[in-house]
Structures are given as structure tokens and as C-alpha cells.
Subunit: 418 residues, 2 copies
């Protein structure tokens, strides 16, 4: 079979499966998710054996240590995959919810019913646990999923998908509701991205390079986030202790993730007091600081920030610091250099807090809290399939509801239009 | 200025304007909409003069009569444009609505606030009233809009946009919140479709050719509908009189629109009784019928439907008719040949009604009502900017809410993540 036919078959199979998946009751889906979790645990030896093939190849290729760690299926990763599926089983079923039912003057009752999107393609890099996490969320939301993981994880991904499909088979879920593309060729991904007739949405998860490649080539709608250049603005009225705690946590607790802060904005009226305090904490934690001229007049040993620093996503223990003339200056900076991901203000002033929430249109806007809370789990979505920094369909962390849409439903008793 | 720079300037101007437009209060927006309506009426002589240039050129080019009618700005069209703006002014402002505010275990209050999408590009064909309708809806929802109408309406569109911009200027709305691309070159549209950094959404309105062209070339998300192949399924338990009325209305009341029915599905158990009745009404109204073999055994003079007929959007007094073996057969037919637009069942059976609503995932699903109700105004949206038959972001008729998204807002008192 040609590569083109292979991908077309997978996509057509997914479309057919999606119709049945959309009609599954919550009990069937939840039982399948529990069976999948059990399958993952029972087959841990098989999963680790297949994963070791990937690890050997990766070692030969000289993959970086961090990448090797992401690729590895340890007992802990396997346990966490299984538990992830159980958590999704425990979430409420989004499908079938009816909202806004109202009666029109002609007697028609009109409302909206939540339905699955249909077929979702997930394109991701090295971490094989994305295979089971995504499959679980797509199944629970009544969608069929096509998974295309990184070439370095192909054996692990196929093994996970086999275990999941076996569990589906015995649970009344259509077999082709979960499929992994069984080949590592890039051409396969390109074929998939053409099939707008069979695939409703593509979610790429990975580095900016992968995401730009997918956006460039997809005819199917893509929901993505390129990067997280998150800001904390310490207002002049901020509680100093709180500001210190938040600016430290946002940068240091886990610098390698997209909701970590990259730029600290400090109101000029409190810069002299605040900057030396946070400087000490950052220095103790080994954080490299890069500042604007005003920052460097207060913190003499801080390097100068270049223009590029203001839009950099360091994903590292580096922070850029800018002294701003006030609220408007801070918002202008965020609008110019931000990535619409997450911004936080530390303030004790009611009007500044309200203006920040109203005027800053990033996907998550916080008052007096760390940017690190911009996460599906922390915001109460139960689980997260990705983050969107574009405003179409979803904005911010995406949970089960973001894998659905709403149709109009109308109950009449013979109405016609005249 | 090069064409590329011209379009880039328009897009950048729109992005800047969108930030201010997002913060406008409802009163400012509503006053601007009323001023726009008044401007349209006051300048009707100017609008008609500019429109006459387009009409002259169109006549020289030998444009079809129906196209000429769509292009013409009569006193009636001008009045209706002004009234449309007044109706939008009267709708509630969607921006700023906060929903789902809940308290997390750590005390964070998390909710979602509705915000504008940002910059919306509308690409449309001959009808100049789309200029003011779209501008009004985009302004009310706090967005900036870039309008690119058909080349045959360029003078009319520029005149309307001048009148609207003048009204904005005196109402505190940023001038560049409403812009018309002042050139007819196709290259200008292609340039616009590249600017994903400045434009958040493209909505094409027009024929399938235009829409496919836009989808093919856009890097910006596109919300669209290609066509409406709408079905009415007359179930065996249907009230015959009601079925006759609905099947007639759905086809005949306005055959040239997307929510008109194209295919009538009839349960085999009532075909012998129902088909002759509807046949008489259709014949009297001059409707051409094309039927499946079973239909033609009952209606001898009906032509045979070809395979293409089942997916045809006639937009005319033509209907295809199929006798189906039952509910499942009807749903399978809709899934195979439908366009996800609008489907209706006529039934008196509770279970068939519920199954149809639950299982048919087209954008509008009706029980015992004409497909012609699939329309923003009729479904209670107040106004309509278009219809989506893809499930991402919006599905079905789109109103003001569909021109917005939701960001997460979080109120804390010093929370950090540990």
C-alpha cells in the first residue's frame, strides 16, 4: 500500500469510528478508560521492552540526556499514564449538554447541544505518554484520534496504542477511534495535513519548529501555541513580600515550562525598594538577570538586556527586568513583546487590578498569583490537551470542552417560514 | 507605496485599532452604530452616486441581471442597511461577560471573561450591504475589521466605508477599526491572507469558488461554509399534513438560499401515501423532482436521480427524493451526502425525535420544523455574520458571540505554586 493510501485509510477509518464514538454513553467510555488504564499497567513489561528499542536507537543517535529522559517509559511514567486515564474517566462527560434553550415567538424551542469535534489529529514529539493522555481525552469527549508521535518514540507509541486498542475492543469502543500512524516518514504527516475532509482539527504539541511546520502545511484547522513569554507586573501599590514571592515562584519553580515568567516589569516608584530584594533571591537561586538601563542604575552588576531579550522565551534560569513608568507603560510593553499566554499583576489597588483584568487580553490574566497557575489542572479543567494562544475556538489551557463544539437543536410542532 | 506595504499598513492599523476597540464601553459603541446608521441615511445621494459608477461598469461588462440586482444600492437597501445597524446597537454587548467563576481549593477564584477576537477580515462578493452589516457586527463585538469586497462593488464599498469611518471619528471609535481595502487586485487579498500576525480570523462570504480560494491560500484561520445540502426526513409516524407543509416550505419558500432543502427522505412505510401528496404540491409550484428507483415506482413521471444529485446544492426549484428503509438508513444517507448544514425530521414518535437530535451532528438539527429556520435571526442570535459548517470555533449561524472568545481570569491573594 502506498503511503498516501495508508494515511487515507487511517483517516477514513477515523471518520467512520468518530460517528460511533460520538454516540457512546458516558458509562461505556468510562469503562473503556478504566480498561485502558488496567491494560497499561498489566502490559508494563511489554511497554518497557518496546520502549527499550527506542532508547537503544536514541543512544546510538546520541540523543541529549533531557530528550532520553522524556523518551523513557519508567515504572513511574507507566503508573502515571494509567492514573491519568482513571482521572479522565472520573471527569464529567461534556457530550450532550444542552444550554440556552429558549422559546422563540413562533413557539420553536431553540438551544445548543454540545457534540464532539469528530476526528482530531495530534502531532507531538518525544514523550510517549502523550499517546495515552491524548487518546484518553479524545475518547472521553467522543472523538476519534489519529496520533503521530516523534520518530524516536515509534516503537513505544505503537505498543501503547496496541494496548489501548485492545482495551477498546473489549469495551464496545470502535477499534479505529484510537490510531497511531505506524510510520516515521515526514511525508506521512504531510499527507495527513491535507485531509480536511476527514480530520476536523490538528493539535501540534512540541517545539516552535514543529508547530510552525504544521501550521505552514496544514489545510486542517490548527490550534497551537508557539511560545510563552509571560510577564509579572509589580505595581507601585504591591505588597512587597507578596511580589517577591510571586516573582520568584513564577521564574524559579519550573523554568523550563511555557507558563514560567520571562520578563519582570516593575513600577518606577517602587523599583529602588523592590529590585534589591528580588535581586538577592534571584542571585541565591542562580538566576541570570538582564535589565533595562533604569534597572541597571539600581542593580549595578546586572547585564544589559538587548531588544531580543524582551521577546525571548528563555525556558531557563534567566529573567529580563524592566522598570516601567506606570500601568499604561506596563500594558504597552506586554502588548508589544508578549505572546498572549499569561500575565500577572501584583497590586493592592482595586482599580489597577480591575484594569489589568479588563485590558490585558492574554489567554490567562492573574491578579496576585503566580503565572505558573496557567495550566488546565490548576484552573480546574481536570486535564489538559494543550494550550492555545490564538483566539479561535480556544484560548488558554484546553480541556475536554475544548474538544467539543455546539450544534443548534430546534423542537417545533409544524412551524414553517413565511 | 507597494501593494504589499499598503496591505501591511492596513493590517497593522487594524491591530492597533483593535486594542482600543476592545476597551470601548457599550454606550460608545452603540452611539457610534446609531451615528453610522444616520450617516448612511444622510448620505444616500452620495452612496447612490458612487454605486451608479459600479452599476455602469457592470453593465458594460454584461453582468447577469441577478448580480446587477445584488449590486444595486436602492433607497430600500440603504434604509435596510441603516436599520440593520440600529438593530445591532440594540443587541446586548457580548464583551466582558464573566462565566464559570469558581473558587479552587487554594483560594484562587478562576473564571472566564468574554473578549473580542481582535482583527477580523471579511472577504465577500457583490452585495455592498455586507460592508455595513459586517462593520456593525464587528464593532459591536469590539473587533477591528478589514473588508475586502468584490471588484465590481469597489466604489460602493469605499463610499459606505467612508460614511462609516466619518461616523466613527465623531463617536470616539478608532478610525482604523473599520477599513476597506481600496484596490481590486486579487494580489491584495493574497497579501492579506498571509498576515497571521495581524489578523485573527477570516470570514469569506460568497460562492464555493471564492471560499475554496480563500481556504487554499490563507495562513489565518478561516470560518466558512461551502454549501448547504439540507435534508427533511419524513418518518413513518409523521403527521401527513405537517410533513407536506414542511417539505413544501423547506424547498419552495426561497430555493436560492443555503438553508433550503435539497433532498427529501421518506420512510418506505408511508411513501405510497405521502409521495403522491407532495408530488401534487411540487408540481403545482413548478418543482422538478428527481427520485430513487423506489420513488419512481410510486411517482411514474419523476426523473431518475443520479449519484451526483444526492450531494447537489441546487439553489433552485429542484428536489431529489429518496425512499429510505427506516431511521438508520435516513441518518446514513445524511452522513454520506450531507454538508453538515441543516437537517429536519418530521415525526410524531418520541424516540425518533430524540434519536435524530442526538445522533445527527449537523450544525442545525430540527424536529417538526422547516430547514429555513437555520438562520441567525430566526434562531435568536439577533443578527448573523455568516454560517459555519466546520466545527472549529463556531458551528451553524454565527452572531456576535461567535466574534468573541474567552480568556481565563484569576483573582488571587498571593498564591504561588509549590
Amino acid at each position: 500500500m502506498s503511503l498516501q493510501d495508508l494515511i487515507l485509510n487511517i483517516a477514513k477509518g477515523a471518520r467512520d469510528a468518530s460517528r460511533d464514538a460520538a454516540r457512546l454513553g458516558a458509562a461505556v467510555k468510562n469503562n473503556a478508560l478504566l480498561a485502558m488504564a488496567q491494560g497499561i499497567e498489566k502490559n508494563s513489561a511489554f511497554l518497557k521492552k518496546e520502549n527499550s528499542k527506542d532508547l537503544e536507537l536514541a543512544e546510538k543517535k546520541g540523543l541529549q540526556k533531557a530528550m532520553m529522559e522524556r523518551l523513557c517509559l519508567s515504572d513511574k511514567t507507566i503508573k502515571s499514564m494509567a492514573n491519568g486515564l482513571r482521572e479522565v474517566a472520573a471527569l464529567p462527560d461534556p457530550v450532550g449538554e444542552i444550554t440556552g434553550m429558549r422559546t422563540r415567538p413562533n413557539g420553536l424551542r431553540v438551544g445548543r447541544m454540545r457534540i464532539p469535534l469528530g476526528v482530531i489529529g495530534i502531532i507531538y514529539e518525544s514523550r510517549p505518554n502523550v499517546t495515552s493522555d491524548s487518546a484518553g481525552l479524545c475518547l472521553k469527549s467522543g472523538n476519534a484520534v489519529i496520533l503521530r508521535g516523534g520518530s524516536e518514540a515509534i516503537n513505544s507509541n505503537l505498543a501503547i496504542s496496541k494496548v489501548l486498542s485492545d482495551a477498546c475492543k473489549t469495551s464496545g469502543v470502535p477499534e479505529k477511534a484510537i490510531q497511531v500512524i505506524p510510520t516515521v516518514e515526514r511525508e506521512a504527516m504531510l499527507e495527513l495535513l491535507k485531509l480536511e475532509e476527514y480530520v476536523d482539527l490538528i493539535i501540534p504539541r512540541g517545539g516552535e519548529g514543529l508547530i510552525r511546520f504544521v501550521v505552514e502545511h496544514s489545510k486542517i484547522p490548527v490550534i497551537k501555541h508557539y511560545k510563552g513569554v509571560c510577564h509579572v507586573f509589580v505595581d507601585e501599590s504591591a505588597d512587597m513580600g507578596m511580589a517577591e514571592k510571586i516573582a520568584f515562584n513564577a521564574k524559579v519553580e519550573r523554568p523550563g515550562v511555557c507558563n514560567a515568567m520571562e520578563t519582570l516589569l516593575v513600577h518606577e516608584n517602587i523599583a529602588k525598594e523592590f529590585l534589591p530584594r528580588i535581586h538577592k533571591k534571584y542571585t541565591d537561586a542562580g538566576v541570570e538577570m538582564r535589565g533595562c538601563p533604569a534597572t541597571r542604575r539600581i542593580l549595578k552588576d546586572v547585564k544589559e538586556a538587548s531588544e531580543e531579550d524582551w521577546s525571548a522565551e528563555y525556558l531557563d534560569l534567566i529573567v529580563s527586568i524592566k522598570v516601567v513608568a506606570g500601568f499604561d507603560d506596563a500594558v504597552r510593553h506586554i502588548e508589544k513583546y508578549g505572546s498572549l499566554h499569561t500575565e500577572s499583576i501584583v497590586t493592592s489597588d482595586y482599580s489597577s487590578a480591575m484594569r489589568f483584568v479588563n485590558e490585558v487580553n492574554s489567554s490567562t490574566v492573574l491578579v496576585n498569583a503566580s503565572t505558573r497557575f496557567s495550566d488546565g489542572g490548576e484552573l480546574g479543567l481536570g486535564a489538559e490537551i494543550g494550550i492555545s494562544t490564538t483566539k479561535i475556538h480556544a484560548f488558554g489551557p484546553m480541556g475536554l470542552e475544548e474538544l467539543t463544539t455546539k450544534k443548534f437543536i430546534v423542537f417545533g410542532d409544524g412551524q414553517i417560514r413565511e
